[in-house]
């Protein structure tokens, strides 16, 4: 039932609308009746019941935890198994009762309990603290559940677990090629279920794995950071261009690919500000140099497949890896010279990104361009003016600049997104 104040206000408005001829008297009565009618049966008893079940659940957990040490291992194993089986039993029961969403939630609980069981059995038998092996086993269990039941919730949880497994192996300093063995079936299921969040997680998982392994690969083949950044930027620029063409061809997920690739390119390009090491002198720079050289060719060939991509876009894309490589070449000359090259280039490419996003009606790219421009302006301010002024003046001027800059920027951003919205409508 709606609040009385709202019903009174609608009743008053209805008189005006009837007199203006917008609403008929019959319709007015129907609206007022619906406002005063009781809603569907109250959900309060259900909520209270669920809360009660949660409390009983916590009570059971606390009881088990308090007596855990006193229980025999056999009893503990039995409890763990029964708890996990109960979750899956509940999933089956709820599915039979046509509660698909609750059934999916129960499956998710089952996958979570499987992970908890791995940890608790490891604790009971003093298994070696192999975090990544535990995550691998958990991911495998989740993946089998997701595929066997075609469960969205289990799939999303599994994708996160696979990502966690990748990160734990990568943090140990190992090259992690086996990631693809689990990532690929999960990604395949995401496309089979045609579920957008899982598709996003698949892309994020792939990029996390790719970027996570990159430093180890670079170290093995003798690349310094500039070579690594150049190569990765060239790769993601081509992915970005490919995503743009795919969007023009009507591929449904191409816009997301563009967004992720553009974001990574911008971050990579910005990281070149921090380069302290230059290009390695041992000739290992050849592959990144070739990758930077091939970027204009690859993007040009892709641009030919689309009428919306111009030559200036190809030039802008090509400048990302080329700029990083150039920065690496001059890195040994000193920070100021490096900044003099990279900063104007970065700002110019941010402006291009805003225009590119506007032309393509892509709000994410527009906002990314503005955000990157703003961050760069702030970085330049901190790097240059900050050293010349005393602390008080530094913060005062900084504050004024930030407020003024933010105001102007927001106006520009709104204007650009309005143009984009108008063009879309």
């Amino acid at each position: 039932m709606w609040p009385q104040s709202y019903a009174k206000r609608v009743a008053a408005d209805l008189e005006t609308w009837i007199s203006n001829g917008w609403v008929s008297t019959d319709n007015s009565k129907a609206i007022l009746t619906s406002l005063n009618k009781e809603d569907a049966p109250s959900k309060l008893p259900v909520v209270i019941t669920v809360l009660g079940a949660v409390l009983i659940g916590f009570s059971a957990m606390a009881f088990v935890a308090a007596n855990w040490a006193e229980m025999s291992k056999g009893l503990r194993l039995g409890l763990l198994a029964i708890t996990m089986w109960s979750a899956y039993g509940a999933a089956a029961f709820l599915h039979l009762r046509n509660h698909a969403a609750f059934s999916d939630a129960a499956l998710l609980i089952g996958v979570a309990l499987f992970g908890a069981n791995i940890m608790l059995i490891g604790q009971m038998y003093h298994l070696p603290s192999d975090f990544s092996a535990g995550l691998l086993a958990w991911s495998l269990g989740g993946l089998v559940t997701a595929w066997a039941v075609q469960s969205r919730a289990a799939l999303a949880a599994t994708q996160l677990l696979i990502m966690g497994w990748a990160m734990s192996v990568i943090f140990e300093g190992d090259l992690h090629l086996s990631h693809l063995l689990l990532w690929a079936p999960a990604a395949l299921l995401a496309y089979r279920l045609d579920w957008t969040p899982a598709k996003h997680l698949a892309l994020i998982g792939l990029f996390v794995w790719l970027l996570g392994n990159a430093p180890t690969v670079a170290e093995n083949i003798g690349w310094n950071p500039p070579e690594l950044l150049t190569f990765l930027t060239a790769l993601f620029v081509v992915l970005w261009a490919g995503g743009t063409v795919a969007e023009d061809k009507g591929q449904p997920f191409a816009r997301a690919l563009q967004g992720y690739a553009a974001f990574i390119v911008i971050v990579m390009f910005w990281l070149s500000h921090l380069l302290e090491e230059g290009i390695s002198p041992n000739g290992a720079y050849l592959i990144p140099l070739i990758a930077a050289g091939l970027t204009p060719i690859a993007t040009f060939l892709l641009a030919r497949k689309s009428r919306t991509i111009g030559l200036h876009d190809v030039i802008a894309w090509s400048l990302f890896p080329a700029g990083i490589f150039a920065t690496g070449v001059i890195a040994n000359l000193g920070t100021t010279e490096q900044l003099m090259i990279i900063a104007p280039l970065f700002l110019g490419l941010c402006v291009w990104l805003v225009t590119f996003g506007t032309r393509r009606h892509n709000r994410f790219l527009i906002n990314l361009g503005f955000a990157a421009f703003g961050c760069e302006a702030l970085y330049l301010y901190l790097e240059t003016f900050g050293t010349l002024l005393d602390t008080a003046a530094f913060f005062a001027i900084g504050g004024i600049l930030l407020i003024a800059g933010g105001f102007v920027w927001e106006r520009l951003r709104r204007r650009a997104t309005t143009i984009q919205a108008e063009a879309t409508s």
Binding site: K73, A92, L96, G110, F114, Y125, P128, V144, A148
Partner: protein
């Protein structure tokens, strides 16, 4: 998906996960049932950081080796497997030899434990050929969950260097903690079930 397929899918998920957990338990029980048993002496590295609640990080005398006391194969690198042959004739087992591959045969009163090289002091090796080479080795028995409230008691014994860990070993050198020993007396004996 049809209801039947969903139910079959749930059954597959339950069976797979239960089998995986069962395999974990079975592997460990098989190892703990092995007749080969050694006692390893633990040494404290930093008594203030050793206990995390009721979880003990165990560091053994056989966790660090230098080539003054034992011959360290030159081929060993960080991350490699290493097989340490132990003399079990005394209460506490002591290292005799180490190999990058499993030894073909063992003498009487000897057992082998599998470890992984966690670090190698290569720096010293680079500056001179005859300096002491030191390596660190980790085993499958690096942690022990003690009963609630007993961590501090164990720490006291560890300071007195009298704490031994009873370890079960199989023929491949895999290891599992069977119990704890203080001054030759078992204080914890891990039941299989």
């Amino acid at each position: 998906m049809s209801t039947t397929r969903i139910l079959i899918g749930i059954a597959i998920a339950v069976l797979f996960q239960t089998a995986l957990l069962g395999h974990m338990v079975w592997t460990q029980i098989t190892l703990l049932s092995s007749p080969t048993e050694v006692v390893l002496k633990t040494i404290p590295i930093d008594p203030h950081d050793l206990f995390r609640g009721d979880y003990v990080i165990l560091n053994y005398e056989i966790s660090t080796f230098d080539n003054d006391k034992i011959n360290i194969p030159d081929t060993l690198r960080q991350g490699d497997n290493v097989f340490v042959v132990l003399d079990t004739s005394e209460t506490f087992a002591t290292p005799v030899e180490m190999f990058p591959e499993a030894p073909i045969s063992l003498a009487e009163n000897q057992a082998v434990i599998l470890g992984e090289v966690s670090w190698v002091n290569l720096y010293q090796q680079e500056i001179c050929d005859d300096c002491t080479k030191i390596i660190g080795v980790t085993y499958q028995i690096d942690s022990y969950f003690v009963p609630e409230g007993t961590g501090t008691d164990l720490e006291k014994y560890r300071d007195e260097r009298a704490l031994g860990v009873i370890v079960a070993l199989n023929d491949e050198g895999d290891s599992a903690i069977k119990g704890l020993m203080i001054d030759g007396e078992k204080i914890y004996d891990e039941p299989l079930f």
